[in-house]
Amino acid sequence: MRDSTMDNNDKSKKQAMKQLRAERKEMIKAASARMKIQKKKIEAIKEQLNNGERTIPEVAEATGLEPAEVLWFVAALKKYGEVVEGEKDGSFFRYQLAAGLSRAE
């Protein structure tokens, strides 16, 4: 059971959050727009890495993204455990989705 102080706290927090959202409106809008674009790019990259091991230039070619950007996302996805590094292919390394790897095993 909730007592009334709790309800009051909840209410004032809700009010403060509403105000914060209003203050940060522009920043929130810009961050959300960036996130949406990132999400699309990440999906496109992951789709490639789901089809087996790929190098950065291969993913760039298939997705139409700049190789530097592909590498940036792959490095980030690797850091958060979603992508793993595979074999070397010439001067490049191959990468694959960590989930794809566990499926194959």
Binding site: M17, A31, I56, P67, L71, A75, K78, K79, Y80
Partner: protein, 435 residues
Amino acid sequence: MAENKMTFDALVVGGGIAGLQAALDLADQEFKVAIVERDASIGGKMIRLSKVFPTLDCASCITTPKMASAAHHENITIFTYCEMKRLQKLAGGFSASIQQKPRFVDELKCIGCRQCEYECPVYVADPEQGGFSARKAIFVPFSNAIPQVAVLDVENCMLCGKCEKVCPTKAVDYLQQPKDFSIEAKTVILATGIGITPLENKVQYGEGKIPNVITALQMERLLAPHGPYNRVLRPADGMEPDSIAYIQCAGSRDKSMGVPYCSRVCCMYAIKQAMLLSGALPLADVTIYYMDIRAFGKGYEQFYQNAKAMGIQFVKAKVARLTEGENGAVTVHYESQEADGGVTSAEHDLVVLSLGMVPDWNPAGYCEVSTASDGFIRSVKPKLAPTLTDTEGIFVAGAAAGPKDIVDSIAEAGAAAMSAAEYLTVLNSRRRAVA
């Protein structure tokens, strides 16, 4: 922080290696010390390096224990993510007005589990990794940061609420406000360190727009075990470079960059990185374009000779400009100062600029300490007592007083602590005599 005013014997501004060493030396003598650090973690430049010359010790392995000793010392209190707004002289001491920036995470509740970071959907270029990888809008600064407390960056936050929901300790606090407090101390040590000249400042070197031209600090990250790729790759396309070049004095001894002085450590860190690259990429060619090599410290000349023996190419030359080459290569146009001389060029897969060092902080407007013509904090007795500033009771240590390597920064930090301890002892005995 319950109280608004705290009292210590000494205040150390800057939690880099110099500040930490000075604080530890004072605290071991039973003085109560406060460290104020602007960053979310202590450790300064050194904790961001891969290995350090001339011993090639792993930077993290020797810095982390120092950071931990300071953090756990009963006589040291560390205030991170804090700006010093003003340092005023009072009768018998100083008062510093400090503002702690909001982390939007409760420092006492956060356990550094990074669940918030994994959950947050916004990726942001991570300056701690030279921008080569990403962190999230809420993040723990880096794996060996102290304290291990998350920080939320409002500019990239959508206020989606995911981090708050996932946090097991309810530490996320979107409504956190800056906290103002003051620290009173009898003596102050300034250990505010160095920054590097921006890559964008030099037109001849491409103003940061040529792919695969990076800074030496970025190379430190590529070489570090917890680097962005966990190996050395070209940032423009992920290729393992076969040929890497260093441009020395890229921003030092250069009036056009406002840095007429020698930055002292760049020759040595370039040689160090070249050696580490030879280890990481045994087949790669490493070339260092230099005006002259300044291997000034104990064992440093031997270090340089070892690098030559390892096959690292040293080309005495003045690099005029860099241009974009074929397939991500960088063309180095230079005037050779070797036997046959002449203007020529060479292509490399990756080019590293050994940028100049500049002061990280200017005391103007914050406290009554003056700087020298190079912008570093002025030492009034540079030969006999290099840690003395022009304000009695305020000492300077490490790279804040001028470009310096770690050995010299630590030695000077010890000297600053000694001078501060002496100052405190005299002050205390005078007080006792009056009483």
